[in-house]
Amino acid sequence: MSLDQFESLLNLLHEPILICSKDKKITYVNYAAATFFQISPRMLRSGLDLKHIFVLPGTEQSFNFDILDESLKTNDPQVSGEIHLALAKFPDISFFFVLKAFTSSSENNDKQVICFRDLTVEKNLYNKYKNQIKELEEGHAQIIQADKLATIGEMTASLSHEISNPLTIAAGNIEVALALLDPTPELSQIDIVTKCVRDANESLSVIGHILSDLKGFLHKSEEKREYVDLKILAQDIISLLGPEIRQNKVSLQPKFSDTEIVAFINPTKIRQVMMNLIKNAIDALAEVQPKEGRKIFLHLEKDQSLGHLFLKVVDNGPGIPEKSREQIFVPFYTTKKIGEGTGLGLPICQKIVTAFGGKIWPEETPGGGCTFIVQFPGIEVSAYSYNERYLSGLSDKQGIKILVINDEPQVLNVLNHMIGRQEDFVFIGSTSVADAEKIIEKFDVDIVLTDIKIPSRSGIEMAKSFSNNPQSPKFILMSGGVVEEEMKKIHGLKNVAGFLQKPFEESILIDTLRSALKGGRQS
């Protein structure tokens, strides 16, 4: 193919292509480049240098095409990262490109070819998309906050009643105590004064609890997720709704399963879901007077085979009318009277729950009433999908999956914090050996970090069960106690790569994990 034929072919391409000499003088531009960079044949004839065409955006400083030097030096094609440049003619209009450069050598006549891949539109759209998503998230956060305030507004009457009772008691006791202390208390009265002060203190502490629960509920939600014991979270909400429940003569009974119910969620947001569902049930019950009394049951259960967690709010109210069932998750749809409901509670619940990979739906309660069921994925799946997604957004590296087994959510949170700071690590927490075993192969786990003693099965037994498996992850065992006897049991287990005596520092943990990846054993 002659040079002319080659250049004619280049003219058919949509991508700008420049050909330069070794000293960066432009000798050819294809049609797309002439169009894009406003290079006329006249300019080309007059001896055009790359530095005459391209500058750093907003400046007169010429853009340095290091990629050409690299291509010449290595004689290999070179690809640049994303570069940002402008034309000398219009320094305020900038472009984003990825460049590919290669050198074509023939008889001492090196030609350097630069292909431009224009990313300007893609980059601008990406930035706009990111900004709009941010605005939507901010808007959504404001709606959630507004919903909380509306809920608090509705609760104000019962709360003020609940606060005024202990306040009256405290004030009365202090008055009595003051009277007894004036001018000098008799010894026989000291016991009464002490009791008055204690009662006043207790009443003030009740008010303190109410306000603390309120503060927890109103706390502006962050995106951060953590391992949370849903039973504790549910008890907080039951306590916060106490005044509302009593005022509406409703019996709210927790029915929690014996197993650990730990979720990987944002506690502030899930508090709001629980609050909305229970308040809806209270509102529904206010319309009726069932023979057996107004009842709400709060269930927390775990599906042992799939690992799903279930939160159920069961009431014996009137149920959801058939015509409303399709619309209950539509924003601003409400069956309540004007001023009594925003129509945002259930849509917000749905949005929060789905953001955690869960589902929410209503069912009829057998015997009458409504049951709202919220399903969350098991913590292992939840943490993996969340952390892996986060990693993918930051890096093109394959994540190293570290499964941590511990039955205490606080410990998982601390370890998640330490391990999560390593950009290439994907933290997967688990509270149960049975669930952990299921996901080791599913997610191709690299390292298992487990306590020697965990409920139901020991970490050593777990490592043993994988010891003959060529695909076994590396095990690192932890313990806070004396472990001499246990340590003997791990001799000969090739898949045990380390031991950590608690408490340990973050740097020791990370060193042990990295060493395990290299195949070493630390203790």
């Binding site: 003219n11 949509h14 006329s40 006249r42 539109v121």
Partner: protein, 154 residues
């Protein structure tokens, strides 16, 4: 950055004259150009940018207006002509270009000039001869085969 896209329309019976200005990009709302007229005259004189999103939307607009309407482009700047040359679908059988800007170079003050020329002035794919105020000839500042490519496809 290029300004917001605007359309100034003037209706003459079944004909609409639309003066376009600003950037034809992802933010440009081409919905403001109504369908239902028999003839459309688009004046591109004040269009300062068109990108791939804008081209996609423009082609969508032509699809919406239909093949039975008569469309005329006038005062097309160089950026529009270059896109017309590179993108299929910008010119349809029912579309004509009345006039457009072509790049010329005046060697005396060393100046690039955009000259408005009529499509009918292009004969045999050659740029019409132009002179500056002093009567000296201007040099056509592009490759004729490439710049007038759209006339071959017409």
């Amino acid at each position: 950055m290029a300004g917001n896209f605007q359309v100034k329309s003037q209706i003459e019976g079944k004909k609409i004259n639309a003066e376009l200005s600003g950037a034809i990009n992802e933010d440009a709302s081409l919905e403001q150009i109504p369908s239902g007229f028999e003839q459309y005259v688009f004046d591109f004189n004040n269009v300062n940018l068109i990108n791939s999103c804008g081209i996609r939307d423009w082609i969508g607009l032509l699809d919406r207006l239909g093949s039975n309407v008569k469309i005329t482009y006038k005062r097309c700047p160089q950026i529009i002509i270059e896109q017309i040359n590179m993108v299929k679908g910008f010119i349809r059988p029912n579309t004509s270009i009345e006039n457009f800007y072509a790049p010329y170079f005046d060697p005396e003050p060393d100046q690039e000039i955009k000259v408005l020329i009529k499509t009918s002035d292009i004969q045999n794919g050659k740029a019409p001869a132009m002179k500056n105020g002093k009567g000296e000839p201007l040099e056509f500042d592009a490759i004729e085969d490439q710049y007038f490519f759209f006339l071959k496809n017409k």
